[in-house]
Amino acid sequence: MLSSQRFRFDGESTDSETTMYPAPFRYHRAGSADEAISLLAELGDGARPLAGGQTLLVWMKLRFDEPTDLVDIARIPNLSSIEHDDHQVRIGALATHGRIAASPLARLIPIVHDCANGIADRQVRSRGTIGGSLAAGDPSCDWPALLHTLDAEVLCQGPDGERTIGIGDFVEDLYATALQEGELVTGIRFALPPARSAGAYVGFKRCAPAYPTASAGVQLTLAEDADTCADVRIALGSAGLTPIHATAAEAELRGQALNETTIERAAEAAVAASDPVDDQRGSPAFKRAMLRVLVRRAVGIAIRRCNGESVEHSHEYY
């Protein structure tokens, strides 16, 4: 791939000399969650579940990961439902970003649409799944930050049975989650936001296929006077080695009147909680400047939505 002789000038170039392949692996297709879990446990720590592949296959091509075995879980039935009752929302791990964005749930809870429809481009949203985005443990992915904002729980199933892990305990470190060997994410759930509660998730991206330079999610509940913040959750994406739950920023708003001063204080507290890395998407100072704006914007959109306004929103571009 990276050899100096990428192209043959003495004849036709062939695909094999100019394309990126993942390292070879064994491919298995699981028909059920139980079968996938047994296979993953049996094959050991070189095995990975494959869902939509929109993160994993890139990692494999770039040699960030070289699994010995892939267990294709994409055809397992009953893992892609998107449903809710009066209290709770439940999304199957194999629901794609595109299906979530187009679902009645995304119309009901606009912050879900912000996130799902802002991920990459149509092509990636056709294949990429919420479970895969979460299990990757990548702080640049949008779902982990959104699910922190909504205080979601991750439903898992492994060799020892089922368990539910709070989102704050699920993401442990950069690319590291609480998943044990052989354990799968089967879905996520979160409480249906109460009356007078609404949120917004805003990311800042160079172009559609790129990961956000930074992102912010805000879920706000207004008090009955409609001016005071009764409750709030604020989370940041692409702002450190894990998604960041900005509790100090929340404390600046909770129980306070919502105005320029309190919102600015919250934005500053969120920035202070961030620890962005220096990479090709920007310097830490640039990302902090973006985060401050994004938190303010997300709070502003959340307030308007709390007041019943319909605000179409997606990621911001350069």
Binding site: D15, M20, Y21, R29, G53, L57, L70, R122, Q123, P209
Partner: protein, 165 residues
């Protein structure tokens, strides 16, 4: 690691293929079936030139999908969108509006546009921008491309009206 036997339907033709598990749908379309209309660009999900349409007509990246994942499934490539020997309205509009510079991104852009127009023939500007956001022309810009997509949408609306009438 051996090869796996798969059955893959491309543009309505069924192929039985022995594919390496680590080869992508793109690799198999181009190298084993010989359909080189689908282009190979970044091969890492950034450029969109490898876009084809999946079973429900949805735009997907053939470089980020393993061929084995498509066993028993069908895809449509740029070679398969002509209708009864005539160019697809999107292809025809790209010709008429000169929506092609070097042409390398064109198959991916056309398949992205087709995926949109198969769902709605009255797309908003936002919907067009969003549908084309994953297939980027590096030569010039998207003005002529968007004119062509709007023109193709109009032709497809006329065709629908005629079929309904």
């Amino acid at each position: 690691m051996g090869k796996q036997l798969i059955t893959l339907t491309v543009n309505g033709d069924e192929y039985e293929l022995a594919v390496a598990s680590h080869h992508t749908l793109l690799d198999v379309l181009r190298n084993q079936i010989g359909l080189t209309g689908t282009k190979r660009g970044c091969t890492a999900g950034s450029c969109g030139v490898c876009t084809v349409n999946g079973e429900r007509g949805e735009a997907i990246l053939s470089c980020l999908s393993l061929a084995v994942e498509w066993d028993g499934r069908s895809v449509t490539t740029i070679e398969g969108i002509r209708q009864g020997g005539e160019l697809h309205p999107v292809q025809q509009a790209f010709l008429e509006y000169g929506a092609v510079q070097c042409g390398f991104c064109t198959p991916g852009v056309v398949m992205s546009a087709k995926a949109l127009l198969d769902v709605t023939t009255s797309p908003s500007e936002d919907q067009i921008n969003e549908a084309l956001a994953g297939a980027i022309c590096r030569c010039t810009g998207h003005i002529k491309i968007k004119k062509a997509v709007r023109a193709a949408a109009a032709v497809m609306r006329d065709n629908e009206a005629r079929d309904d009438g």
